[in-house]
């Protein structure tokens, strides 16, 4: 390689500049060709189902059909305005925010408790970890089938064992004020074990000698948690929060199986609203507009979290 270079240089320098640029470009392209061919299969599917889909959402959000068979016509921002004016959509956004906060905080808190309690590896802890992890593996639909009975009024598991303590038995899934919280219980049950894994991995990074020094200085368990463990787990917290937020938007299978968004939209979440618009009302324009708004919000959120992560890495 090094032998050929000195000979090639003078020839290239004497060529006209534009030709040189073209030549260099085509040479680079030729050198890159094998890589492009290897990337092609992935890029084709990404182009169809990620970038293409993204473009399609934008275009579809700008058009509307009067009836399912009628030709499309350009309506500009009408779909987006219609979605924003739809109380079912704004209700779903509010529900989704409540649902996101109400599932993320308890499941992350529980995950931290589990990880701290089970951080040392021994036979008992392994069994407990497996028990807490089991719900992560099963389909949301299967979890919903089990919880349908747990929440069943009067004869269900919850009423049978705990309901006796209450003066009035609530209808867990049928009551407008309770249904969303019942749905959140399932999500917490299903996800806490997953987040526990990340905290277990994060705890490995807590330096042993610092912990020892803290014991010797007489720092109690809360002080060690507050001043050593939690600061060390900051990246894990950030990461798990992003995943929990994404899950709060994308996991809606239990809404479909258990409540179909009811009673009167009390458990309607954004993705279920999109599904309803597309499949039940055949309104692709509105469904696309709602998708677009959700994607914009999510991308803003991920960009923000990436930036804070990058800042932290650069700063420390």
């Amino acid at each position: 390689m090094s032998l050929a270079e000195p000979a090639a240089l003078p020839v290239a320098a004497s060529a006209p500049p534009r030709l040189l640029l073209l030549k260099r470009f085509s040479a680079r392209f030729k050198a890159s060709l094998p890589a492009y061919l290897l990337l092609l299969p992935s890029l084709i599917f990404l182009a169809l189902f990620t970038y293409g889909a993204m473009g399609r959402v934008i275009v579809d959000a700008l058009y509307q059909r009067a009836t399912p068979k009628a030709p499309v016509r350009f309506v500009g921002f009408e779909n987006i305005n219609a979605v924003l004016a739809d109380p079912a959509f704004t209700g779903a956004v509010v529900n989704n925010l409540v649902y996101a906060v109400g599932t993320a905080i308890p499941s992350i808190g529980l995950a931290l408790l589990f990880a701290l309690a089970l951080s040392r590896t021994n036979a008992v802890n392994s069994v407990l970890r497996a028990a807490l992890f089991l719900p992560v593996l099963i389909p949301m639909v299967a979890a919903s089938a089990l919880f349908l009975f747990i929440f069943l009024p009067n004869v269900g598991l919850l009423d049978y064992y705990i309901g006796r303590l209450l003066p009035v038995l609530p209808n867990w899934l049928g009551d407008y004020d309770i249904a969303l919280y019942a749905i959140m219980v399932i999500t917490i049950w299903k996800n806490a074990g997953y987040y526990m894994l990340f905290f277990l991995a994060g705890l490995q990074a807590v330096p042993e000698d610092v912990m020892e020094a803290a014991y010797l200085d007489g720092a109690g368990p809360w002080q060690r948690l507050r001043h050593i463990i939690l600061p060390e787990l900051k990246p894990t917290f950030l990461f798990v929060t992003v995943i929990a937020t994404l899950n709060a938007v994308t996991q809606v299978d239990h809404v479909f199986v258990m409540t179909k968004g009811g009673p009167s939209n009390a458990t309607n979440l954004v993705l279920f609203y999109i599904y309803q618009q597309a499949v039940e009302h055949y309104d692709i324009g509105k469904a696309s507009a709602a998708t677009l708004l959700t994607l914009a919000a999510l991308m803003g959120l991920t960009a923000l979290s990436f930036r804070t992560m990058a800042n932290r890495e650069g700063g420390s």
């Binding site: 189902f49 639909v141 919903s144 069943l152």
Partner: protein, 289 residues
């Protein structure tokens, strides 16, 4: 108390007298038991005879006259063998195509220099940000246009390329010493031969980690197959179970629902209990999925 002391015997000496960690541990044990109750109920209710009546349905003590009637009913009402076959086809099909696409792309990112590498890297990264589940509406129109509505291929296609898998394989390939490849190069091995005989065999742990994540996540997919599939005989397990549950709920056949749910989740649970360590470590790497 003796038992708890034994569990904490490897804790640092200075902390063995502390009470808070023990309370935390006790709380975790309590919650782990609560976490298992839905599974316990599923097992007990599956074996409970219908003659025990609806009021005993929630009882967690197993029935004295266990029966397999519920399993038989679920087997007859729901078309579970067919659903299981469809789910198996979907998961295998996705995984096989993914293996090809992520190996090739992962190799390109790990070992080749090319123009626009950073740009293409970000193009892949975009898939992680635009969660595929959210793009169900445009992807459904595309699948319909390709003539793949109501086909298993239509269910599989959006997942054929995987940014997560590509990054995982890139990481695995970068860890392989270049000397091995140089030796093969001197022996005249072509690009594909080098990938096939050096990179792939040495990256088996990463492939199996990816396989676990890919199969469990597509085994559990629901909304997307629900939209694409119309014919009852093409339903995967999740869609089949939701239809089955809706039917059985009407007749209050909770024992049958428990049996059907058990059939759907048993394969995953058994595999998990056998390969527990593998599963846990794979799920830790799956964070960026």
């Amino acid at each position: 108390m003796k038992l708890i002391d034994r569990l904490f015997k490897d804790a640092p000496l200075a902390t063995r007298g502390e009470i808070t960690p023990k309370l935390g541990f006790a709380l975790t044990v309590l919650l782990a038991i609560i976490w298992l109750i839905p599974f316990l109920w599923m097992g007990v209710a599956t074996l409970r005879p219908a003659s025990d009546g609806i009021n005993a349905m929630a009882e967690l003590m197993p029935s004295l006259k266990p029966t397999l009637d519920n399993v038989r009913d679920a087997w007859e009402i729901g078309d579970f063998p067919r659903y299981a076959l469809n789910t198996t086809i979907i998961c295998t099909g996705i995984l096989l195509v993914q293996f090809v696409t992520i190996t090739l792309a992962g190799f390109a990112f790990a070992r080749l220099e090319f123009a626009g590498k950073t740009l293409i890297f970000y193009l892949f990264l975009m898939q992680l940000m635009l969660v595929p589940v959210l793009l169900i509406v445009p992807n459904l129109s595309l699948v319909a246009q390709l003539g793949l509505y109501d086909t298993l291929t239509g269910v599989m296609m959006p997942f054929f390329a995987s940014a997560f898998g590509t990054f995982l394989m890139r990481q695995a390939f970068e860890a392989i010493p270049t000397e091995l490849e140089d030796a093969a190069l001197i022996d005249g091995a072509s690009l594909f031969q080098r990938i096939r005989h050096i990179y792939v065999p040495l990256s088996m742990p990463s492939f199996s980690a990816f396989a676990i994540i890919s199969v469990t996540s597509h085994w559990n997919d629901f909304l997307w197959p629900l939209m694409v599939i119309n014919s009852p005989d093409k339903r995967p397990l999740t869609v089949g179970l939701s239809v089955f549950t809706a039917t059985a709920e009407g007749t209050q056949a909770w024992g049958t629902i428990a049996a059907g749910t058990l059939m759907v989740i048993a394969p995953l649970l058994v595999t998990f209990l056998i390969f527990q360590k593998r599963f846990i470590s794979s799920f830790v790497t799956s964070g960026i999925k």
